[in-house]
């Protein structure tokens, strides 16, 4: 088990910069999730850590060792690939035993280690099968088993659940979390699914265009997103954004509506006076209407989900989504008045899109 650190990590293909100077310290036993939209450089970063991709600049340490130039086999990491990369001609047992055999672990030790890992993952009865005789979920587990038996310093996962159906994904996600709690090894996990990131991570690293947008615990990135991008990326349904201006301690939305800024940003209200801002409101943070703390808009679509109801309504030129109690069923076309708690809204600078609070 080991810590990992990236210092000014860079990757370019020719003139094309893909990873633009990542600085990140990952503690021993930490579960870190790299999340971001497609093409933002998550896999590239992970593969540089694994040694499967050369680095163009900066430094990677595993524990105290600088591993910049070490081949993968000397980095003592294990990786679970998106397509699992199980050896098709080897049985499950042989797949799991391969890395141990290569490293010269005595046969007497291989067997109990595989048995233990297989039991942990519930694949004990599959050991004699070939990968082609397994279901997607079983293959996924075997791929994890192959990584576990190694007992590496660090586990790397590159979108390990993306080939599973929704139900199985939830199930395996829980298993991965349980696994981390059981063995405690440092895990670096890549995904583009924010739900996976939120549920699994000790800390989330949000990447955008090869740069770190924010690093923080799931609570931190949810409660205080550092930018419009993070606000919109984390949380489902996504955060609502509306443009407005601060005027006399109130937010004047472009559509004409206004809400008080009282309480929260009081001290800054004067500093913000006259500034163009982007207001972020999470759908789940709308509440009962209250004088001066409410927005009104025409209801466009109502989606009952059973557990709650999503209401899409117009505010000026933008459409906002509110997640409300399931009993609330306004009719499309109605004018809806809905409460906003000023302490739960997020303010971003309109020009830089960075958080203002």
């Amino acid at each position: 088990m080991s810590s990992v650190s990236f210092r000014k990590l860079e990757k370019s293909y020719g003139a094309l910069r893909i990873v633009k100077g990542i600085d990140l310290e990952i503690a021993d036993r930490e579960f870190v999730v790299l999340v971001g939209p497609s093409g933002c450089g998550k896999s590239t970063t992970l593969r540089m850590l694994a040694g499967l991709e050369s680095i163009s600049g900066g430094e990677i340490r595993i524990g105290e060792r600088v591993v910049n130039k070490l081949p993968p086999r000397e980095r003592d990491i294990a990786m679970v690939f998106q397509d699992y990369a199980l050896y098709p001609h080897k049985t499950v047992y042989e797949n799991m035993a391969f890395s141990l055999k290569v490293r010269g672990v005595p046969a007497a030790e291989i067997k109990p280690r595989i048995a233990q890992a297989a039991e942990m993952l519930g694949i004990g009865q599959l050991l004699e099968r070939k990968p082609s005789q397994l279901s997607g979920g079983q293959r996924q587990r075997v791929a994890m088993g192959r990584a576990i038996v190694r007992r590496p310093q660090v586990f790397l996962f590159d979108e390990p659940l993306s080939n599973l159906d929704a139900k199985l994904r939830g199930q395996v996600r829980t298993e991965i979390k349980r696994l981390h709690q059981a063995i405690g090894t440092t895990i670096i996990y890549v995904t583009h699914d924010q739900v996976e990131a939120m549920t699994l991570a000790d800390r989330i690293v949000i990447l955008k265009g090869g740069e770190i947008e924010q690093v923080g615990t799931p609570d931190e990135v949810y409660n205080s997103p550092a930018s419009v991008f993070v606000g919109g990326f984390i949380g489902s349904p996504a955060m609502n954004f509306a443009k407005g201006t601060v005027r006399g301690g109130r937010i004047a939305f472009d559509g004409g509506a206004e809400i008080a800024l009282d309480g929260r940003v009081n001290g800054k209200a004067t500093a913000l006076e006259g500034r163009d801002i982007i207001v972020g409101i999470r759908p789940e943070h709308f509440g009962a209407a209250e004088e001066g703390r409410q927005l009104s808009g025409r209801v466009q679509v109502v989606e009952p989900l059973g557990s709650d109801t999503l209401i899409h309504f117009a505010l000026g030129s933008s459409t906002l989504t509110a997640r409300v109690a399931p009993e609330m069923r306004p009719q499309p076309g109605e004018i809806l008045s809905i409460g906003v708690d000023p302490s739960r809204i997020h303010l971003f600078d309109a020009a830089t899109e960075r958080a203002l609070n």
């Binding site: 499967l52 050896y87 098709p88």
Partner: protein
Amino acid sequence: MATASETSVVPTHNESATKWWTRFLDPSERTLAVLLLAPAALLLALIIVYPVCRLVWTSFQNLSLTSGVPAEFAGLENYRLMLDDPVFWETTWNTVLITLITVPGALFVGLAMALMANLPFKTKWPVRLSLLIPWALPLSFAGLIFAWFFHSEYGVVNDVLRRLGFEGVIWFNSANWAFAAICLTIIWKTSSFMALIILAGLQTIPRSLYEAAEVDGAGRMRQFFEITLPLLKPAIVVALIFRTITALQTFDIPFTMTRGGPGTSTATLAMYIHQNTVDFLDLGYGSALAVVMFALSMCVTAVYLRMIRAKG
């Protein structure tokens, strides 16, 4: 009752007569299957079964166009003659030897070429093209080129040998050297075909398997023997089947390079068949020889097929 059944019999008979045709207009599943398979089966019978049967039949006949005697059934006479025919044994042995040398030879050279061609070259087409060229050349053309290469006076091989300080070899005067020259030529000509099939096989192996192996700690050698080779096995077996069958039928290259000489020391079974049927017009004996070659090919194919099945 009797009259009733009698009256019913007559129309039924008529019906069944017309039904013979209507059955094809609205065929049952079974009839349809037979109908659909019939053209292919007929074609196969015409172009494979008939010639093979005809060949076997001819091999039982005393049919020599030069003897002036009409063909007559000779039983196993042709085959008995073969047993006492030293040229038959020599050419068969040459054929087997060529197979045993050039098939593994082409496999190794082809494998090496395929591995090289599979390296991440920036521009792939010159590599692929150079693989294709030897394959696309006609066999007899390759034979003619290499006959020149191995020419004792003007050949490039001897020239290189002399420059390196060795003595030149009069390749086609010695049975062993001539045989070696033929084998080298065949390997050159056929390894590109092996390489093409193996290259196709190599490209079906996902890159992530090598990455997984690398993370697992396997070096290059280990990756080759534990991943590449096992996953190439189906491609290799297919290539071996084709290559072995064509090796058993080797004709063009020794024919153009040595005409089987010196003596019959580099003649193959196929050349001996050609000689008997085309030069001597002894169709009976030639057919018997061809049956032997056919049997050899079938045996080899059966062995390979068993190899594939044992794997699956």
